[in-house]
Subunit: 341 residues, 2 copies
């Protein structure tokens, strides 16, 4: 084994203990028992482990800059999450630079390269709708730059995430439509390569099952959830032989597109079709009828993700610990779904 | 004169011609007459002018990154301007990094430092409400990094700007209120250290004068134009002895705050008070009554500013040319000001 290449992971694998414990022991942390520490130090010496001073130094020459990658800054959820990020970063002395993937995988890739070139200290990322593999994030891992996913994450266990419970929120939204006497409920779903939209779909399906409503594949319309998709989906939906009386949308933007078009063709909301969206865009409380939706606390998510990221940046010994924080959501009931009011 | 320090500006000053002409001549541009070119080359040799190769080389090691500094990404105008910036930058192969000053001069300063450390190729900037001096931009100038102001600029002639005609837009907004039979018109003004708000105030004042309406200092309320300022200003306004029947606001956000509070206290819009805002936020077309406003074409402004910046980055010979591009605005008439409809 080439001495220069012995890592804490090698030591951890040989001793069958966590890399984080090895890291702590080598950093002389009081949180590691004397006995374990001795064992680790002995093995490290034996293998000729040398702390990667170059990496260490690089890590220490901080720029005090955090990179943020979001699909779109103009979405209410992302702009409030960014407000939480800025607030928390500023308090800790970091400047925030924001980049938009605009839902393009290619752009997301080149943004990661730009952030690497700019030697940011850490990255907060919510992936694009097109992102199906995560090789472009390897550069961050290799250079030891911590990153935290928020909202749109990928299904890799070893990452740090700040999320909401999309399944649970979608279940509640659908249950609410059922409580409001909807029996044939359509779902405007998002791209199923993203965990969040997969889980919203699952929550919808599960609420139907729990209420003994037969799930029908034809009532699910998948798109990239833009306003115009709302109109297109309603047109397709109206061509079906089912009498649809409830609609759960995976975001507010497509729900607003649907409402505008349903009004044009004189379908009454909520009498004919009750509608619930997702994310609580600012416009949702002002359109007529106001849109029921899931409140996704962007500010809180931004704060939690930034706190987690800064902890990973500053606490070298802890940086291998990955955790997932779940932030609570709530259903906001407005006119678009309330038949009894 | 130290030879190393002779710049094209020195040559320009001595010969009493434009720096841009000197630059073109030294770059052997066909756009400079043979006679002028000879004169410039002679003087350059005489003074011992040496092209700054270091700066030249630095300029050539491009990152293909543009930095954008805006007060707030959540404002409709800025998010549409950013959309225009992204679109234009992407076509030219640049990645865009966005930073928010959140109206703080301190933050704006540290953002400029961050962008400098990140070696961006150019900067698009719309200054904060607190910004009263521009020393923090000197670092960009010294390192030969071009920058273009959009919307919120500073009153230095030698800069490049993409602006709207704020005076003209404000004049039209106020004239419209007068046409709608308002005779006592208040103005909710923005911070007067910013050129844009100064010009909106001047446009308002000029329209009054043109219509022989006496300008009254007491009817002008200056604030940082947040939604809550709308309520506070209305409260102050209602304590005056004047019967105010028209209101021109320097942005939509404060106008919306005013509308919400006026409705609470049962003042009828537009019957009692006709209102016009500025910028056309998305929410302005949906609130009741819909807000008349100035359409500030963000997308177009973003595109023009980016084209200008990229021209300055890529066209070394032209980079000293500073110009100001004015983008046309229009008045959008909605219910909040239309008394005859």
């Amino acid at each position: 084994m080439d001495n220069n290449q012995v890592t804490i992971h090698d030591i951890a694998a040989i001793l069958k203990i966590d890399s984080s414990t090895v890291s702590r022991a080598l950093n002389n942390s009081p949180r590691v028992a004397k006995k374990t520490k001795d064992k680790i130090l002995k093995k490290a010496a034996e293998l000729g482990y040398q702390r990667n001073h170059l990496a260490s130094n690089l890590r220490k020459s901080k720029n005090f800059t955090l990179g943020v990658i979001v699909p779109r800054i103009s979405r209410h959820f992302f702009s409030t999450a960014i407000a939480g990020i800025e607030e928390t970063a500023f308090k800790a002395g970091y400047t925030v630079i924001i980049c938009q993937s605009l839902e393009s995988f290619e752009r997301e890739k080149s943004i990661v390269e730009t952030l690497l070139a700019n030697r940011v200290d850490g990255v907060l990322i919510s992936i694009s709708m097109e992102t199906k593999n995560y090789d472009h994030l390897l550069g961050l891992k290799q250079r030891n730059i911590p990153y935290v996913f928020f909202d749109r994450h990928c299904n890799i266990n070893e990452n740090s995430n700040v999320l909401i419970d999309d399944f649970d929120a979608a279940f509640n939204a659908t249950q609410h439509l059922i409580d409001q006497k909807s029996t044939t409920i359509a779902h405007f779903a998002g791209p199923q390569n993203l965990e969040i939209y997969k889980n919203r779909f699952k929550g919808y399906k599960s609420a139907l099952e729990k209420n003994n409503i037969v799930f029908k594949e034809e009532l699910v319309f998948t798109s990239s959830l833009m306003e115009n998709d709302g109109k297109l989906n309603v047109q397709k939906m109206m061509n079906l032989s089912y009498k649809i009386d409830g609609l759960f949308c995976a975001n507010d933007v497509i729900a607003i597109g649907a409402i505008k078009y349903l009004k044009e063709i004189n379908i009454k909301i909520p009498e004919d079709i009750a509608i619930v969206g997702f994310s609580n865009e600012s416009i949702s409380s002002v359109i007529e009828p106001a849109l029921s939706t899931i409140n996704q606390p962007g500010l809180e998510i931004g704060v939690a993700a930034t706190e987690l990221l800064i902890a990973k940046i500053t606490n070298e010994g802890e940086k291998l610990k990955n955790e997932t924080i779940i932030i609570k959501t709530s259903l906001i009931e407005r006119k678009s779904s309330l038949r009894n009011s």
